[in-house]
């Protein structure tokens, strides 16, 4: 049907060029690439994945955002904060208000000062940001061998390759090829610039149990958490695409009225005759 046609419209090389100018062929499937030998400062370009939200008129898959939050909560949040996302942001996106309220109440938030000037803790509310694993950058570095786990709220916008990179990074751990010495405390990952990252592989098959029964394979979890982080980086994504449809559609219709009006107004000039004496 028409919907299948629209869904098949996939973002062409425009996004690819923006994310990885040097990338060769654009891949539209979850096809892993062979490991290449490369110099230290180079990174393997992530393959382009045909996400459910890739096409011009495609919205995020709410079920994937929901599963992705599960992965973030259970795996990534022990090291990474998301300080631009509050609980309330999840309401109506991937959770109901009651669910989010319950989630928020499960955490302790320091608030205050009260009338005695003391800080106190209270259960979380919808307006609280997602809890951070460490109180400050120093603590985060100290716990991670000196490396800082970046805040993930805007990570998809902050990396070339966006969610493609994220997916490739999370699934890209493998043994280092011969001749490459991986420094202590680092892990080989060809998609990370330099090839050695301070984050150990975080996702293993079955690391979370999805409530909707989806098989929690490494690549499924990587896909879901990347979708969740893509949403977090651009919560207005669906609105933006829908408005694009509305406005481009409306102006396309107006275009023909304008065309008619121009021809109408100009008909006088086009048909008059000038005589010079």
């Amino acid at each position: 049907m028409a919907s299948a046609f629209w869904r098949s419209l996939t973002l062409p090389a425009v996004a690819a060029a923006a994310s990885s100018a040097a990338a060769g062929a654009t891949l539209f499937s979850l096809r892993p690439r062979p490991t290449l030998a490369f110099a230290d400062d180079e990174a393997l370009h992530p393959p382009h994945i045909n996400w459910p939200h890739s096409s011009y008129l495609a919205s995020f898959d709410a079920a994937a955002i929901r599963r992705g939050y599960e992965v973030y909560r259970n795996v990534c949040s022990s090291c990474h904060s998301m300080n631009r996302i509050a609980f309330r942001n999840l309401v109506g996106v991937a959770f109901t208000e009651e669910e989010v309220k319950e989630m928020a109440e499960d955490i302790e938030v320091e608030d205050g000062p009260n009338e005695e000037g003391l800080m106190f803790s209270r259960p979380g509310r919808l307006s609280d940001i997602l809890p951070a694993p460490y109180p400050n950058e120093e603590a985060a570095r100290y716990a991670n061998n000196g490396a800082l786990p970046p805040d993930l709220s805007l990570i998809v916008k902050a990396r070339h390759g966006a969610e493609n990179y994220l997916w490739a990074l999370l699934t890209g751990y493998r043994d280092a090829p011969q001749g490459i010495n991986v420094r202590e405390g680092l892990y080989y990952n060809p998609y990370f610039p330099g090839g050695q990252i301070a984050m150990a592989r975080a996702l293993y098959d079955g690391a979370v149990e999805y409530e909707d029964g989806t098989d929690a394979t490494t690549s499924q979890m990587a896909k879901d958490v990347s979708t969740f982080l893509a949403w977090a980086s651009e919560p207005e994504h669906d609105q933006r695409k829908k408005m694009g449809l509305e406005w481009i559609g409306a102006f396309s219709i107006l275009f023909f009225f304008m065309l008619y009006m121009k021809r109408f107004k100009w008909s006088l000039y086009k048909t008059r005759r000038l005589e010079f004496r």
Binding site: A58, S59, A62
Partner: protein, 77 residues
Amino acid sequence: MAAREAAMSGMAAVRATLYNVLMRRNSVYVTTCVVSSYALTNVYLKGTDSLWKSINKGKSWEEVQARLPEKEEEDDD
């Protein structure tokens, strides 16, 4: 008036009627513009909305939410 229009060919008669009914008086004309743009916007947005929904079938939160009734029961106890 009606008789004069009856003598015209189809399209011309329609245009003459439109002119007489909607455009002759400025107050009527402006009201027509406002009311019809409101109505057309509604129709247009309904159209793009259903196009959007058919393109993205199954992915919206409303649809996803409708697919998970079991979980809510578990949560209640």
